[in-house]
Amino acid sequence: MKRLGAALAVAAVALAAAACGSGGDGGDGGGAASGEPVKLRFLSLAWQKESIEANKEIVADWNKANPNIQVEYVQGSWDNVNDQLVTSFEAGDPPDVIHDDSPALSSFASRGFLLDLTGKIPAELQSDIPQAAWDTVTFSDGKSGQGVYGVPFLQESQVLIANKKLLDDAGVRIPTPDSPWTWDEFADVSKKLTKKGTYGVAWPMKSPVNKVLNLALNFGGTFFDTQDGKTTVKVGPQEREVLQRIHDQLYTDKSADPSALGMGTADPLPGFFAGKYAIVPAGVYLRQQVAEQAPDGFQWVTLPPLKGQTSQQGAVSQTLSVAADSKHPDEAVKFIAYFLNGPNQAKLAKGDWLLPTSTSAAKISALTTEENGWDVATASAKDLVVAPFLKVNGFDEWKSKVATPAMQEYFADKISLDELAKRLVEEGNKVLERYSR
């Protein structure tokens, strides 16, 4: 028995010692021996069929043209990419090129996991992407400076997807990118479209925060105020507009279906196809699901984003970054520059039904055709500006612990707008304070 105890103790110590080791070397090594091609691992989050095909095709083209820099396509998934990345960063063995979205980059950047790409991006790619998009990937380096921690390449705007027949039957004006509906007009139209068995609109609010914060910019609502490096939450008249208007549609006008509130983004589609809802506000990518799932003969149309004081919306972007631990950062940047050139961005945008950040890609005819509302979707990119919450340290915790439950209660009509504002500010500031110490 004593021997058993001793053996267990030795095994435990050995395991602990090994576990506490720095990791150091021992990985698959990055430094290719002389003459061998450099190998890069590219973690892609493409998931739609056409998008995966486009990704693989571009990687294959690159590998063919660059025998000395071979890229391995590794497919990840949005559901768990951050778990995967955190563990691989901490263990010192991350992929060389990383696909993610801009909100995730902030904390990775401040912890030194990502390479600062400032001055490393070729001028052609740099100038092809507008500054507003670059702003979505510019973050604190965790010390005293700022850096660019990814190349933004796909963006999403909120549009309206509508049942064309119901709009025509109601005789309402069909908005265009040059003459969008105002929120007032949208409220009127929603009321007109509401009849027995049909609601004007379905607001899927299972995850309401980003949607509300992005739309709030229509009225100049930013929800956060940063002064002297300290960020606080603010919910003034500008921030209240969108919240109040959606609430009014639900409970005053009764032109929005309260039963849709608990739904995720794609969940209202069966009701939409059945004529239960005339309009579904959604990200542009939902058009893919509509195109694929709509019954034969169903006529639908993509309508431009709503206008408040402006049509501005907060934007986040999908990005490609280089891991700070990559053994081949220069080659990784070269690959990204090729992967995200204009024609390739157009392919990727088409495959994911999103908007390219590249101005040259946005002009490509496939992205300006009327088919499936591409012209309207692409035009909406001009009003995308950096989402104010993107730069807020602690936003994720504020969102999950404070804003999501509070907004869900508000939209369920269980608390008033004043109570919502109070909770967002008071409880929110307590959360944010911890991040500013």
């Binding site: 267990l8 576990a19 590794v74 059945a274």
Partner: protein, 272 residues
Amino acid sequence: MTRALKYLALLGYVAFLSFPLLWLLSTALKTPQEMAALDPTWIPRRPTLANFADAFAEQDLVGAGLRSLVVAVATALITVALALPAAYALARFRGVAGKIAIGWVLVSQVFPVVLIIIPLFMVLRRLELVNTLAGLTVVHVTFVMPFALWMLRGYVRAVPRELEEAASVDGAGRLRALAAVVAPLLAPGVVATLLFSFISSWNEFMFALVILKDPEVETLPLTLVRFVGPEGVARLGPLAAASLLATVPSLVFFAIIQRRLRSGLMAGAVKG
């Protein structure tokens, strides 16, 4: 009447248990349009195999399935092979060391996976087992072992010590008594532990996500999650088709091993 009620209750129970599988089958055979219909249908109006074709075309389901099978079978066999003698020792030889060992087994279940995953990764990297099925198997065995040990210990304790003593009175040595008397009685427990270990490994996602980095070595749970996009939006058709296929090896394994479970029970009864 009582018998009819029993059958009715059994039928209801079977229907309840098989509901997810039947719904998966129904979904896998539907067109996107039918899947998005407001009134769901049990039997697809226009059954299609397109979802299966898409799932196979987009992901290496066969390769991933084979790799999962290798890891799960190896995990089940190694776990039981290592846990059985340990369980026997812990059940039969009670002392301070045994109590400490059992306490350690229980404590090992307390740590959340996320806490141990990075140190574990570093250990595997030093052993050059990252990105290998062998590495994943080692982790799965380690992960499954405590509970398997606990299960088997219970089964061993359920075998009366007097049976071994009776065998020794009849002239059998310890090993003979173990092989001829204890082993048949333990068979159902061993089979149940094999099943538990197999299923735990077959379904495991988090360790596989972190340890396996190249597409050439990834297991089935990693492949299935590729059909899920941001904000929970999923490509339901291919996902249902792939998930349905992913259940087949488990069902086959169950079907094969369940017979052994039955024969083990009977063998135990005869010997007892």
